[in-house]
């Protein structure tokens, strides 16, 4: 039997979420609270099932795919249905070495996020939103139709908007609107770029695969659509993705959104949603406009460098733990841009692996922040001292997460950073001083924050004032499980990065060769 697993993974969670939301919508709050546990269980089971399907796909139990041989612009599990015939819009799904790690990551993070926020209030609404977010994110990654891609791109905003708005912190209204408006503004400009491109094509199609074939055919002999046009379209498309990534100077929505978002929202936001930006860059502007990419190579490098340095320096000045982690995300996303701008297969693979590794490590950081907030009712770095004594679990998790994030060898982040450094050195030589410097700054802010929260104080430590004399708790079991899982995967991909790195490597090398770029 031929089952379209990818479409199911998109549609089922969204339908389930709508069903669950409608189911409880007419109830009064007290009656709805009774549904929290069953709804959570339903969401958890669905997300586990999705994770199982994605894993079985990877292991070859579903379909028999040689994941490490997927060349650029070929897709597995490809299915296509007519959607709006009149406009030539189809529902086309498929995965390749670029998108499959992201799909798998999304399905991994969904159950983990649900575990980490097991006791989130108003769960009957929260967990369905989580499902909707997961379905929409997978939709973005598997969409091979431009229209479908855009629909899911925007659809991810809605559950996240409500998550920030309903479960967020004090300034959540501001943060949620800023988040929505930044992304929406960038994406409508991207949409105009996409449509302009559509009408300039020889054979108008929304299908990304056909677009790439068409573009590369023209790019091989000349410049598809002309260099001037290609540059403008490249900028319009990149703008949408750079804001999502986010890169300086469009990054200011991210700290606000993260600080205000609930733990689960932050985990998904940092883990997967930011990667949509990087994914989109590879999928559309880079695949379609290699000539424009070469033109803008240096500018992209500069944007990446500024994000990297700026993010790190701002981190140094933060007293809010979550804000610090958020800026460190900006910094890490800068690494992805550096990888792209290196124009080396190695650099691109580093960018892809950074997307993946950061997708596992940053949820851990935000889970730590969430636990911190949850148990100490404060996010100030100075609020808790001597955590190692009061809350050994949290202290250990925090230490692990921080170490992973600053790139300790044998953990996933290190692999990406090492690859990047090598590629960057090949491409830009002594410019490597800047990212190198940033590594030192990163170590500084992480170590400093750890020193102030985990160790300082020692025997004489008083419980933080924000607890008002209550006993100091350690983290819940559910939080412990989530941290353990994330830590396990961080180590797994640190020791055995080739699990996904091989297919990423195949993708980048074939892409570079296909596009006629770089060292290939």
């Amino acid at each position: 039997m031929n089952v379209d697993y990818l479409s199911m993974m998109v549609i089922l969670p969204i339908l389930a979420s709508i069903f669950l939301l409608i189911l409880t919508s007419r109830l009064n709050p007290a009656a709805r609270a009774k549904f929290d546990a069953p709804v959570r269980m339903a969401a958890f089971i669905i997300s586990l099932a999705m994770f199982a399907v994605a894993t079985l796909m990877f292991l070859g139990q579903i379909g028999d795919v040689g994941w490490n041989d997927i060349a650029f612009n070929t897709f597995e599990f490809q299915e296509s249905y007519v959607w709006i015939e009149q406009l030539g819009i189809t529902w086309t799904v498929g995965v390749d070495g670029l998108s499959f790690p992201m799909v798998w990551l999304t399905t991994l993070l969904m159950p983990i996020t649900i575990i980490a926020t097991w006791n989130e209030k108003a769960g009957a609404t929260y967990f369905p939103l989580m499902l909707m977010l997961g379905g929409a994110l997978i939709g973005v990654f598997v969409a091979l139709d431009m229209f479908m891609f855009y629909v899911f791109w925007e659809l991810t905003l809605i559950p996240m908007f409500f998550m920030i708005l309903k479960w967020g912190g004090k300034d959540r209204k501001y943060a949620a609107q800023k988040f929505f408006i930044y992304t929406f503004t960038a994406s409508v400009i991207m949409l105009l770029g996409l449509l302009t491109m559509y009408f300039l094509m020889d054979t108008q199609t929304f299908n990304m695969q056909e677009m790439v074939v068409q573009a590369s055919g023209a790019n091989a002999s000349g410049v598809w659509l002309g260099l001037e046009v290609q540059k403008v379209l490249f900028i319009m498309l990149m703008l949408g993705f750079l804001v999502k990534l986010p890169a300086a100077p469009f990054h200011t929505w991210l700290p606000d959104a993260h600080v205000q978002a609930p733990t689960g929202g932050s985990m998904m936001l940092a883990g997967v949603m930011l990667k949509m930006g990087a994914y989109g860059m590879f999928r559309l502007p880079i695949s379609l406009f290699p000539h424009a990419l070469e033109e803008f190579q240096f500018i992209i490098m500069m944007i990446g460098l500024v994000s990297l340095v700026w993010g790190a320096i701002v981190c140094l000045g933060q007293t809010n733990l979550k804000k610090m982690v958020a800026y460190s995300s900006v910094s890490h996303m800068g690494v992805i841009l550096l990888g792209i701008a290196s124009m080396q297969p190695l650099g691109w693979a580093a960018a892809l692996f950074m997307m993946f590794a950061h997708g596992i490590i940053s949820p851990m950081l935000f889970a730590v922040c969430g636990a911190f907030k949850h148990h100490y009712h404060s996010m100030e770095i100075g609020a808790m001292r001597g955590m190692a004594k009061h809350s050994p679990w949290l202290a250990t998790s925090m230490m692990f997460g921080w170490m992973a994030s600053l790139g300790l060898p044998l953990l996933a982040g290190f692999v990406a950073e090492l690859m990047l450094m090598v590629a960057y050195w090949y491409a830009y030589g002594w410019w490597i001083i800047f990212p190198g410097l940033v590594l030192a700054i990163t170590a500084a802010y992480y170590l400093w924050s750890m020193q102030r929260t985990i160790f300082e104080g020692g025997e004489a430590t008083q419980p933080p004032e924000s607890l008002h004399g209550e006993p100091v708790p350690d983290i819940d079991n559910s939080e412990k499980i989530a941290m353990l899982l994330l830590a396990a995967f961080t180590i797994l991909f640190g020791i055995m990065p080739w699990i996904f790195l091989d297919m990423m490597d195949m993708w980048t090398r074939s892409a570079m060769a296909f596009l006629g770029l770089g060292g290939a």
Partner: protein
């Protein structure tokens, strides 16, 4: 193409929906007055029963009767129109002549506009069943007010405006079109002021009437000049004359004046000043009709004048002579509307300004049609069809989410006013489904997928970009026709509009309700049904809009 000259049974068949409305109108006037009244033959004691007046029969005394009649009438008329649309082909068309003059033409293009009008009026009529414009009175008094004779007046005016709009849709003569326009306009002037107990109602109505009359007068003056220029007001003769003579100073001036008249109807800047007052003074279903059906009527007039009469080979580069003017009007309208909406605290005014902004988007699409010959000479008609179809689709789905948004405010009005943003506060807790519907309408207005508003905006932008990119080989974006920049302005405006649409969502879900507005809202089954229909339409046409797009394309084709 058949031509009919005299009023006979065939014509009743051709003009079926219009006769339905007409009969419904008569019924609403007569049926509620049926009673045991008698007529005394003068000079004798003999009384003959003639069934009007006296004590009304029980069956017709129900205060809900006029409303039900109106709903049935509109539903039947809409059914007939849709029936026609599903059956017809673009080549179909029946002319109705009187004395050698073309009066009406029934084809897909006019019928799809009637579908828009009737759908909007039907939804508004359904929504009004539960309540009449009762000012700020509490819902307990509804029964008292139902006995008010104004009940019948309200629905009579709705049906006369439906009739007027149909005439505009069918008209083949500027004068006939103008008569229809005025019939519809006068009905809406009164409907706006129907809220006469409140100051806002009378003020809005008066302003709307005064500004509207001035605009009509200017338009009429333009018509007289057109007549002076061409010696006829028939569309086909005007078009022929334009083709023969091109633009002269007289015809240009006439055109300008006529445009003003229609620009007021679609509330394009700078003729939009009365709109926010009118919308906020009128009760919500009526405001919704103004923002959808009445606006579509204005667009229809503009399309007739700009696309039928002034054929666009008038300038050297093959674009229409009015394209520059219309482009500026579009840019100003969408930007002004959005910026004004940002600062308005009254949700109805906000929706009014958002409808100004939507008028700007539609004008941008019209501007693109004016450039249709640009680079696409062999393919002119098709490019025009694409944009016209996008416009039709946009106006059609706008009925659902624009009117729906007004109806949600209408539910709040039943409770005691919806003139402050804070009246929406806490709706998410009080009425989750209503709040979800409102949120869907808002993001649809903003153009977020997968709502119908996204698809319609996508179609409009696609139409503009298709025209702007011409034959498809540009050496730079600067070589595209300048209407491309209107598309850019449009997407930027969409982003700006996000601010105020989202704010509604934030207020609904995350502000505490106002004092005294805690529990669930007053019931109102019919308005909720109307809102549900709107919400279903908003989502359904966004997900599977293909059939409607086909229909709109056929209708656009029949315009040529």
């Amino acid at each position: 193409m058949s031509t009919e000259n005299d009023f006979d049974m065939d014509m009743i068949e051709t003009l079926g929906p219009e006769f339905t409305v007409f009969v419904g109108l008569l019924l609403i006037m007569v049926v509620p007055n049926l009673g045991n009244g008698t007529f005394r033959i003068p000079g004798t004691p003999i009384r003959l029963p003639w069934f009007l007046g006296g004590t009304r029969f029980k069956a017709v005394a129900s205060p809900r009767l006029p409303g039900l009649l109106a709903v049935l009438t509109m539903a039947l008329a809409l059914f007939q129109v849709v029936w026609y649309l599903l059956d017809a082909t673009p080549a179909d068309g029946q002319d109705i002549m009187a004395g050698g003059v073309f009066i009406f033409k029934v084809n897909m293009f006019s019928r799809i506009f009637e579908a828009i009008f009737f759908a909007a009026l039907l939804l508004a009529a359904i929504a009004s069943l539960d309540r009449l414009p009762i000012g700020s009175q509490k819902s307990d008094d509804i029964d008292v007010l139902f006995n008010n004779r104004r009940q019948a007046d309200f629905y009579i005016l709705m049906l006369t405006s439906a009739l007027g709009m149909s005439v505009v849709a069918l008209a083949q003569d500027m004068f006939v079109l103008f008569v229809g326009l005025e019939l519809a306009s006068f009905s809406t002037y009164i409907l706006v002021a129907f809220h006469k107990e409140s100051r806002a109602g009378s003020e809005g109505g008066a302003k709307y009437f005064i500004v509207g009359s001035v605009a009509s007068a200017v338009g009429l003056y333009g018509l007289s000049m057109l007549y002076l220029w061409a010696g006829s007001l028939q569309f086909h003769e005007l078009a022929a004359h334009w083709e023969a003579q091109g633009a002269t100073s007289l015809s240009m001036m006439a055109l300008g004046f006529v445009l003003v008249g229609f620009a007021f109807k679609i509330s394009a800047a700078p003729f939009h000043f009365a709109a926010p007052d009118a919308y906020s003074g009128a009760n919500s279903p009526v405001a919704g009709v103004l923002a959808t059906a009445s606006k579509a009527m204005g667009m229809l007039g503009l399309m007739r004048v700009l696309l039928i009469i002034t054929v666009p080979e008038a300038t050297a580069d093959g674009s229409a002579i009015w394209i520059g003017l219309l482009g500026i009007l579009a840019a100003v309208t969408m930007t002004w509307g959005n910026i004004a909406a940002l600062g308005s605290e009254n949700p109805k005014r906000m929706l009014a300004y958002s409808s100004v902004a939507h008028a700007g988007y539609m004008l941008a699409a019209l501007t693109a049609i004016g450039a249709w010959n640009w680079g696409l000479v062999d393919n002119a008609g098709v490019a025009m069809d694409v944009v016209v179809a996008a416009l039709l689709f946009h106006m059609f789905v706008l009925v659902f989410f624009k009117l729906g948004a007004f109806l949600v405010l209408g539910v709040l009005e039943m409770e005691g006013g919806a003139s402050r943003l804070s009246s929406l506060a806490g709706l998410g807790k009080r009425e989750p489904l209503l709040a979800v519907a409102m949120f869907l309408f808002m993001i649809s207005l903003a153009g977020v997928p997968p709502m119908a508003g996204f698809l319609s905006k996508l179609l409009v932008i696609m139409g503009i970009v298709e025209v702007a990119t011409g034959t498809g080989s540009l050496s730079s974006i600067g070589d595209a026709h300048w209407v491309w920049w209107l598309a850019l302005l449009m997407v930027i405006n969409s982003a700006i509009s996000m601010f105020y649409y989202l704010r509604i969502g934030v207020v609904m879900y995350f502000h505490e309700p106002e004092e005294g507005r805690k529990g669930p809202l007053a019931s109102g089954a019919s308005i909720r049904i109307a809102i549900a229909l709107c919400a279903i339409g908003t989502v359904a046409f966004g997900l599977v809009g293909g059939e409607l797009i086909d229909l709109c394309r056929d209708a656009a084709e029949s315009l040529r």
